[in-house]
Amino acid sequence: MHNFVPLFKGEMQRLVKYKILQIAFVVTLLWLAVLFLIGEDSVAQFVPLFIFMDATMMTVMLVGANLFYEKQENTLKTLLITPSGFAALMTSKFLSAIVLAFQSTAVISLFAYFLFDVTVSFGWLFMGVALITFMHTALGFLFTVFVKDFTGLLALLILYMFVFAFPSIFYALGVFGESAEVWLMFSPTHASLLLIEFAYGLDVRTVLLPIGAVYLLVVGVALIKWVVVPKYVETAVKE
C-alpha cells in the first residue's frame, strides 16, 4: 500500500476540483427536497429507497465521471510510473467513492432522523452502504472499461437497474412466492436494498442478509480481480 495517503489525498482534492463532490451534494439536497414533498406520513418508506439509489446509481455515475476524466487526460499512465503500488491506487479510488456515498447517506439519514423521527441503526446502515458502494464502484469500473463515453455508461447503468429491478418487482407482486427470495439475493440491487432496509428496521428475513452481503463482496472482488485490474490498466496504458 505504498503511497496510499498522498494518493487518497489527491483523489479527495480532485473530487472537489472536478466538482464531483459538489454535484453529489446537490443530488443529496434533491433527495431531501423530495422527502419534504412526500410529507411525514410516507417518508419512512422512501428514505431507504433514496439511500439505495444513491449508493448504487450515483456511485456508478460518479465513478464513471472520474474514470472518463482519467482516460481523457491520460493521468493513470503517469501514476503507473510512480513507486505507488497498484493496490494503493485502487484502494484510494474505492475509498473516495465510499466517502462520497457516506456523505449523502449521512445527510439523508440524519435529516430523516431529526426532522421526521425515522430511526435507523447507523452502524448497520454505514456498513451496508460501504459494501454496496464497494460493489458498485467495481461495477462502475467494469462499465467504463467497455464503453466509449458517458452516454454509453448511462445506457448500461439504466439497463442494469432495469434488468435487476424486474425480479424484485415480480417478487413484490407475489409472482414467485416467499421462498424464492433466496435467489433474489443474486440480484445485486435486491441484496443492496435489503441491507439498507434491515438497517431501517423494516421487515426483512435476516437469514438472507449474510447471503446478500457475502454476495456483494464476492462480486466486487471478482470484478476487481478479473476485469478492473487487467482491463483498466490495459486501456489506461494504450494511448
Partner: protein, 289 residues
C-alpha cells in the same frame, strides 16, 4: 572491464494484442551511463512502444532487458524512484493548476527536487497557478518535462519532448536535457526529429518497422553517409542555374573554376549531407515535418 550499461536489451520483441505484426521485432542495444541515447524513426516505428516496455508499462515482452546488470523484471516499484518519464502526450489533471499537479506527483516519490526552480527553468513559473486546462500545447509539454524531473531521476525517458514547442522553448528544453546529462544523468530519447538527435544524442539507433537498422554516433553517420560537396547557384542566359561539385580537390576542378570566373555567382554553399538525408538513406522513409 567495461562499466555495466544502464540498459542492456537483447532481442526485444513485443506484439500488441489483436495485432498480427510485431510492433518491436527483435531489437538489441545498450544504453551507457551518462549518455544521451536516441531512438529515431518514422511514425509507427515502435519508439513509444519500446519506451513503454523499458518503463515497465508493458511487461509481456519477449527477450531480455537488463537494468544496471539485473533483469528488469526482478525490480519492484522502487525502480520508479530511479527513473523519470516524459510522455508523448500531456498527462495532467486539467482542473488542477500546474503547481497542484506537480505537488501531487512529487509527493509520490521519496527523493524530490524543488518544483519552482524547475518551473522557472522551462518558463512556466508565471503560469504555475493557472489551471492546466488553460495551458497551450507547448506549455503542457513543458509541464510534462517538469513532471519527468520531479524525483531527481538518474535515468530520463523522453518521448517526443520537443513536440509542439516553438524554437525558443525547444531550445530551453534541449539545454535542460544537456544539463541533466552533464550532471551525470542518462537519457533515453525517442523522436522522429533529426534536429533533436543531431543536437543532443551521443548515439542514435534508427528504428523502422520495429527493427533497428543502424546504431551509430551522429558523427559516424555523417561520415558514412555524408558527401562533402559544394552547391553553386549562378546566373546564365537570363536564368538561375545550379551545379554541384565534390569538395575534395575543388581547387583543381576546372569546371568549378571556370564557373567562378565567367558567371555571376548568386549563392555558394558547402554542404554536408544533412541528417534528414541520412535519415532517408537509412530508413528509406521521409522525415515527418
Amino acid at each position: 572491464m567495461a562499466k555495466t550499461p544502464v540498459f542492456d536489451v537483447k532481442d526485444l520483441r513485443f506484439t500488441y494484442r489483436k495485432s498480427s505484426i510485431e510492433a518491436v521485432a527483435g531489437i538489441s542495444f545498450k544504453v551507457h551511463e551518462g549518455e544521451i541515447f536516441g531512438l529515431l524513426g518514422p511514425s509507427g516505428a515502435g519508439k513509444s512502444t519500446t519506451q513503454k516496455i523499458l518503463t515497465r508499462l508493458y511487461t509481456d515482452y519477449q527477450g531480455e532487458i537488463m537494468y544496471r546488470g539485473q533483469n528488469l523484471k526482478s525490480y519492484d516499484n522502487q525502480y520508479y524512484e530511479d527513473i523519470g518519464v516524459g510522455f508523448e502526450l500531456p498527462v495532467h489533471f486539467s482542473k488542477l493548476t500546474g503547481m497542484e499537479n506537480m505537488k501531487f506527483f512529487s509527493e509520490l516519490y521519496r527523493s524530490r527536487t524543488e518544483i519552482e526552480p524547475l518551473m522557472e527553468r522551462v518558463g512556466l513559473l508565471e503560469d504555475k497557478d493557472r489551471l492546466v486546462g488553460e495551458y497551450s500545447k507547448g506549455m503542457k509539454m513543458r509541464l510534462n518535462f517538469v513532471r519527468a524531473l520531479l524525483n531527481n531521476p538518474n535515468v530520463l525517458f523522453l518521448d517526443e519532448v520537443t513536440n509542439g514547442l516553438d524554437p525558443k522553448n525547444a531550445r530551453i528544453i534541449k539545454d535542460a536535457i544537456r544539463e541533466f546529462k552533464n550532471n551525470g544523468g542518462t537519457v533515453f530519447l525517442s523522436t522522429h526529429l533529426m534536429n533533436d538527435v543531431e543536437e543532443l544524442c551521443d548515439r542514435v539507433a534508427f528504428i523502422r518497422r520495429g527493427e533497428i537498422v543502424e546504431i551509430a554516433t551522429p558523427r559516424e553517420l555523417k561520415i558514412k553517409h555524408g558527401q562533402r560537396e559544394v552547391n553553386v547557384e549562378y546566373f546564365d542566359n537570363g536564368k538561375t542555374k545550379q551545379a554541384t561539385f565534390a569538395l575534395d580537390g575543388i581547387g583543381e576542378n576546372e569546371q568549378f573554376m571556370a564557373l567562378l570566373k565567367d558567371k555571376t555567382i548568386e549563392t555558394i554553399h558547402s554542404g554536408e549531407t544533412s541528417m534528414d538525408e541520412i535519415f532517408i538513406a537509412v530508413t528509406g522513409e521521409e522525415v515527418d515535418a
